[in-house]
């Protein structure tokens, strides 16, 4: 070893040390960015949180009171997006993993999914406005917003479902088919039940995105203020992300509503990151306890 530790060798290891330090610093910066953000939001927002804040509507032209209608609106829109995106996404993934053979059509579908995943959220908003609100005459409503968000998260759900379906061992399918079970029954009774936990945890990450998006619902569902809670899917709703945007930029008294803004941000972050964190923890647990 003494021979190898000459100057050139030392230089090579020095370079390695410098590089490793930079790489560690990058990782640290990213972790600190998230930690700092979450801490800052929690620190400034926790003071605004109370039972009234969560359960009461805004009062005094939104400068006081709570955010209950916005929480409810976000729940409706997110559930709507799941109702649209989840069945379509799982069905697409079943075709791609179980039925499709490599060829031009499948390649087209895959490129289409990738391109859909890359469509900017504001363009989804324009699409929702032009197609659901105007062309199909749904108006600015829960229905239009849910459909827009549902298609927005479709690529995420397809991706998660494909991965989960591919993770089911081929031998499971072969065993079922060799017993004379039809292909559809094999998928329905063997493949899907085994893939479902993976599909759901993967999809939850997409669902968190639906809850937090603003631009797609600005022109399709969100209202600045609604006096009544929505009575049908054709009504406009308030929503947490839009509420933050409105209060922070267009409110009548931006400084006076800062505590409400921070409180709303905290609620939204808690909802979205809470959803994501649950999915991540369940996924980690599933990976450790894999039966095959």
């Amino acid at each position: 070893m003494a021979l190898s530790m000459n100057t050139s060798m030392k230089w090579r290891y020095l370079k390695q040390h410098i590089f490793f330090a930079m790489v560690r610093a990058s990782a640290l910066i990213i972790a600190l960015a998230l930690g700092g953000l979450v801490f800052y939001i929690f620190y400034n927002g926790i003071g605004a949180i109370s039972w009234e804040f969560i359960t009461k509507p805004p009062t005094h032209s939104m400068t006081q009171g709570g955010i209950m209608p916005a929480i409810l609106g976000t729940v409706y829109l997110t559930l709507g997006a799941i109702a649209v995106g989840l069945p379509l996404g799982i069905a697409s993934a079943i075709y791609l993993t179980e039925y499709a053979r490599q060829g031009r059509v499948v390649r087209l579908i895959k490129v289409g999914i990738n391109c859909l995943a890359g469509v900017p959220s504001v363009v989804f908003g324009l699409f929702g406005l032009g197609f659901f609100v105007i062309f199909l005459k749904f108006g600015s409503s829960i229905l239009s917003g849910s459909l827009t968000l549902g298609f927005l998260i479709l690529p995420t759900i397809i991706g998660a479902s494909e991965e989960a379906l591919k993770a089911v061992p081929q031998t499971f399918r072969e065993a079922s088919l060799s017993l004379g079970v039809s292909k559809w029954q094999t998928i329905y009774r063997i493949v899907l039940p085994n893939a479902l936990p993976g599909i759901l945890t993967g999809s939850i990450l997409g669902i968190g995105r639906a809850a937090g998006e603003t631009a797609p619902i600005m022109f399709t569902a969100a209202a600045y203020f609604t006096a009544k809670l929505p009575g049908s899917v054709f009504d406009e709703v308030m929503a947490l992300p839009y509420h933050i945007y409105v209060l922070a930029t267009a409110g009548t008294n931006i400084e006076a509503t800062r505590p409400i803004q921070f409180g709303t941000v905290l609620v939204l972050v808690a909802v979205v990151l809470g959803i994501d964190l649950i999915a991540i923890v369940i996924r980690g647990f599933m990976r450790r306890n894999k039966r095959w």
């Binding site: 990058s26 391109c115 859909l116 890359g118 908003g125 937090g212 945007y245």
Partner: protein, 295 residues
């Protein structure tokens, strides 16, 4: 109905479901064109793209979006310059260097960062970064290019990092072993073997990160400042394309030229990001590492 026909019918039903993504993509194009193309009866495509005057509410109005395009490109470029080194190095750390426990935590951190709603990051830029920039550099406003770029970089990092990490992870183990066997240090192996082998995946990651930044709306709406002019310094305000659409759509009369112009901006934005995605897709397929040359 025989079992066989039933199976075939089921297969085709699933095929139809799989086509939904492509159909939606078609509907997006249809809706954008239907609402946006009528503008070009009044304004030429050349004046629209290369005109620098965006005065949609003046009389007569002026619909030139060059300053909006420049605004979009500049914040995207600077965000990329910040996000690529951080994102790729974090990916290298996760896939090559970090111990197992830290690796798991960091992957979760990046996933959570990706999950942060854009309006929350925009809010952060408004209430924290903007006042700080304004005070430190003695500026008229902290809502400017540099602020928007930093926040956009935070949004692009998870995309760049997670896709790069997949690419690094996919490099065959034999490559590393061969490099070590020749006496290379870990750094030399990473810099000269692993990263070059994964470069197509890393390029894809960078392009998808840029596509994410160029299309991101709430951040540029809230922190870019909103001035529709060609910027002269990094501390100037800009009005990127998504910000213009989001800010003005609520106030414009239905099917007015202004409304059509906002959809036309949507068309430009759609095809710009589509181009980024198609190139990324092409790169990841064309230059993909297939197999490894083992003995």
């Amino acid at each position: 109905m025989t079992r066989h026909t039933k199976e075939i019918i089921i297969k085709y039903i699933f095929f139809l479901f799989a086509l939904v993504s492509v159909i939606v993509l078609g509907l997006i194009v249809f809706s954008l064109f239907r609402e946006g193309l009528p503008l070009f009866g009044e304004v030429s495509v050349k004046d629209f793209i290369f005109g620098i005057e965006w005065y949609p509410t003046y009389d007569p109005p002026s619909f030139g979006i060059l300053s909006l395009i420049v605004g979009s490109l500049i914040v995207t470029l600077i965000a990329t310059l910040i996000a690529v080194p951080l994102g790729v190095m974090a990916a290298i750390y996760i896939s090559e260097i970090a111990p197992q426990a830290i690796k798991e935590i960091l992957k979760s951190v990046i996933e959570l960062l990706a999950g942060l709603p854009s309006v929350v990051l925009g809010f952060f830029g408004m209430v924290i970064v903007a006042p700080w920039l304004q005070e430190t550099f003695d500026l008229p406003t902290g809502l400017n290019i540099i602020n928007a770029s930093v926040i956009l970089a935070i949004m692009a990092i998870p995309t760049i990092s997670s896709i790069s990490e997949d690419a690094l992870y996919a490099v065959p183990r034999e490559f590393k072993e061969a490099s070590y066997a020749l006496g290379a240090t870990k750094f030399e192996t990473i810099a000269k073997v692993i990263v070059p082998s994964a470069i197509s995946g890393i390029s894809t990651a960078v392009m998808l990160g840029m596509a994410r930044a160029i299309g991101e709306t709430m951040v540029v709406l809230m922190v870019a400042g909103g001035a529709a002019a060609i910027p002269e310094s990094l501390f100037d305000s800009v009005r990127p394309m998504p910000a213009s659409i989001a800010a003005e759509m609520g106030e414009t009369p239905y099917r007015s030229p202004h409304y059509q112009a906002l959809f036309a901006i949507g068309i430009v934005l759609f095809f710009l990001t589509l181009a980024f995605n198609l190139v990324a897709d092409y790169v990841s397929h064309k230059f993909r590492q297939i197999g490894s040359g083992t003995l």
